[in-house]
Amino acid sequence: MYQWLDDRLGVRKLYAKAFRKAFPVHHSFFLGEITLFSFITLVLTGIFLTLNYEPSIRPVSGPLSDGQEVPAAYYSILFIDSLPFGAVIRSLHHWAAHIMIAAAFLHMLRIHLTGAYKNPRELNWMVGVFLLVLTIITAFTGYALPFDNYALTATKIGYEIGAAAPWVGRLLSEILFAGELSPTNTQTIPRLYSIHVLWLPLTLIALIGIHLTIMIKQKHTQPRYAEKVAPGKIVGVPLFPQQAAMMGILFLVYIAVTTFIAGAFLAHPVQAFGPPTANTPAVKPDWYFMWIYGILQIIPANWRFEFLGATFGPQFWGGILVPTIIILGALAIPFLDYSKEKRRYLELPSQHPFRTSFVVGMLMFYLMSTLAGYKVDLNLSNEVLWVLVVVAPIVTGVVTYALLKAAYGKRRSQEPEPQLIGKGSAADD
C-alpha cells in the first residue's frame, strides 16, 4: 500500500523534504499556532452557523419568539440557540474570534520584542500586520448578523466612523453596508453576510497561506543557543511526528478550553437586547476596540475643520487617523529598525532596551486609552485622561529603559559578544 502510494505520489520524497522540516521549540512560538487553531475553529463553527442562519430581516414569527414578529436573522439566532449544543457552538464562534485577535496580537508582540521582523522577514511582518487588521475587520462585520438592538447599535458606530474618512468614507460605508445602516434597510444583512462568511475569510485564507509559505521558505528564527549547538542550522524537532504531535495536543487543549469557556459563558444573548428598534441601548465595544472608543471619548468636539469639502472632526482623529498611524507605523518597523545582514537568531528583549521600552510604552498607551473608554462609568475628567493617555506611556517607556539599562547594561559590556548588540536598535521608532 505504502509502496503503491510512493510510486504514484512520491511519499518518501515528500516526507524527507517537507515532513522533516525542523521546528525550533519555545513556548512563545505557539502563539501563531493558537491563532491558526482559532481560525480553524472559527471556520468549522462558522459552517455550522451558516447552515442554520437566515441572512434576511423579513419579519417572521414563531414559537421561539412567542408569536411576536421579529426579523428572520434574529429568529434564526433563537433557532440556533434552541438546537442541541447550538448556543455552545455559537458562543464558541464568538470566543474563538476574541482568542484569535488576542493570540495574533501576542504573536506580533513576540515577533516585535525579539526582533524577528528584521531582514529578510520584513515582508512576512507586513503580511502579519495585514492579517491582524483583517481579522479585526472580519470580527466587526460579524457584529450585526444576530440583528438584535445591541448588535445594530454597535455596528452603527462603526458605520459612522467609516463615514468619517475624508471624501470617500461615506461612499465606502454605504457600499459595505448597502446603504444607510438602519433597522429597516433590507439589503444590509445579506451584504454583511457575504462579506463576513465569504470574502473576508477567503482573503484571510489566502494571506495565511502566504504567511506560512514565506515562513517555510525563509525558515524560523531561533533562540541564540542554536548557534552554539549547530551554527547555520535550524535546531528543532521535525514537523512529523514530534512537532505534529505537539500541535495536535495543543489543538485539542485549545478546543477543550474554548469549549469550556463557551459552555460556561454564553455569548451575546440576543433575547436580552431584543430586535432592533429606534431606541439605542447603552453599548460598549469589545476590548479590541475599547482603546479607539476611549480616544473618541476624550477628543474635544471642537477639534474640527473643513478642507476641500471634507470634514476633519473628532471621529476622524480618533477613529481613522490614530489607528491608521499605528498601522502604518507597524508596517514601517522593519524598515526603521533595518538590519543589513540577514538575521537568523532571536534577539533578547533585555539587550534591546530602546525597542523593549517602546513596546512597553505602546502597551501602556493601549491600556490607558482603554481606561478612557470607561470615562463615564468611572467619572474621570478629560484632563486626567489626557495625561494618562499621553504622559503615562512616555513615563512608562523611559522608566522601562532606565531599568533595563541598569539591570542589563553592564552585563552586556562585560561579555564580549559583539553579535548580541543589535545594529540600529536605536533607530526603533
Partner: protein, 215 residues
C-alpha cells in the same frame, strides 16, 4: 523535428532584424495594456452596482409640516402620541418619547429614514430659552432630532435632568436648543417646531438645522 522547426522559424524572421522584434513587442504590450484596461473598466462598471440606490418610497420621505408624531417603539408603536402620553411619560425614568412622523394623507409612518427619528417631551415652558420656547407648543411640547450629532446613535437616555446619548456620553440641554453640555458631540441636534392639534403632536415646520451625525 523541433530543432528543424525552430530553425525554420528563425529563417523567416532573421535575428539580425531587431526592428521587427521591437515592433512585435510593442504591439503585444499595447494589446496586453488595452486588455487589462478594458477588464478593469468592466470590473468597475459591474462593481458600481454595489453602490446602493436610494429609492424614494413614502416611508423614506423626510419629515414635513403637518406630519403627526407616532410612537417609534414600545407597545404603542405606530400609534399617535397624545398630550396624555407625554404627561404620563414625565413620571417615567425616561421622561420623553422617541417618535416617527406619520404622513396624515396616506397614513404612512416615515420610519425608514434614520434622520426622521424624533424625541418629543412635555417640558416646563418657563425653563426654556426664548428661542426654544418659540418653536415649542404653548403647552410645552418640545421636539428635537433624536439622532446624535456624534456618531448617529439614538439619544435615548436621561440623567440629572439632561438628555444623554448612551454611546459616547454626549449630553444635551433640552431647555436651551439642545446645547451640548458634555461629551464629544460636535453640535446641538436641530429642534423640530411642533404644535398640539386635537391632543396630537403635529409638526409645524422643518428641522432648524441639518439632522443626522456630523461626520
Amino acid at each position: 523535428m523541433a530543432d528543424y522547426e525552430a530553425a525554420a522559424h528563425h529563417h523567416e524572421h532573421p535575428p539580425e532584424d531587431p526592428q521587427a522584434h521591437a515592433t512585435r513587442r510593442a504591439i503585444l504590450q499595447a494589446a496586453i495594456g488595452a486588455g487589462a484596461g478594458a477588464a478593469l473598466l468592466s470590473t468597475l462598471w459591474v462593481g458600481a452596482g454595489l453602490v446602493p440606490r436610494q429609492e424614494k418610497t413614502p416611508s423614506r420621505e423626510p419629515v414635513a409640516t403637518g406630519d403627526i408624531l407616532v410612537f417609534a417603539t414600545g407597545p404603542k408603536v405606530d400609534q399617535e402620541i397624545t398630550l396624555d402620553d407625554l404627561r404620563a411619560a414625565r413620571n417615567e425614568r425616561v421622561p420623553f418619547i422617541i417618535a416617527f412622523p406619520k404622513n396624515p394623507e396616506n397614513n404612512v409612518v416615515k420610519k425608514d429614514l434614520i434622520t426622521n427619528t424624533i424625541m418629543v417631551i412635555l417640558a416646563d415652558p418657563a425653563r426654556m430659552s426664548p428661542e426654544t420656547r418659540q418653536h415649542a407648543s404653548p403647552e410645552g411640547v418640545l421636539a428635537y432630532s433624536a439622532v446624535c450629532k456624534h456618531l448617529g446613535c439614538t439619544i435615548s437616555q436621561w440623567q440629572n435632568d439632561t438628555w444623554l446619548c448612551p454611546c459616547h456620553g454626549g449630553m444635551y440641554d433640552i431647555y436651551n436648543q439642545a446645547r451640548v453640555v458634555a461629551g464629544p458631540v460636535p453640535a446641538p441636534v436641530p429642534q423640530l417646531p411642533v404644535k398640539v392639534e386635537g391632543g396630537r403632536v403635529v409638526v409645524a415646520g422643518d428641522f432648524l438645522g441639518r439632522p443626522g451625525a456630523d461626520v
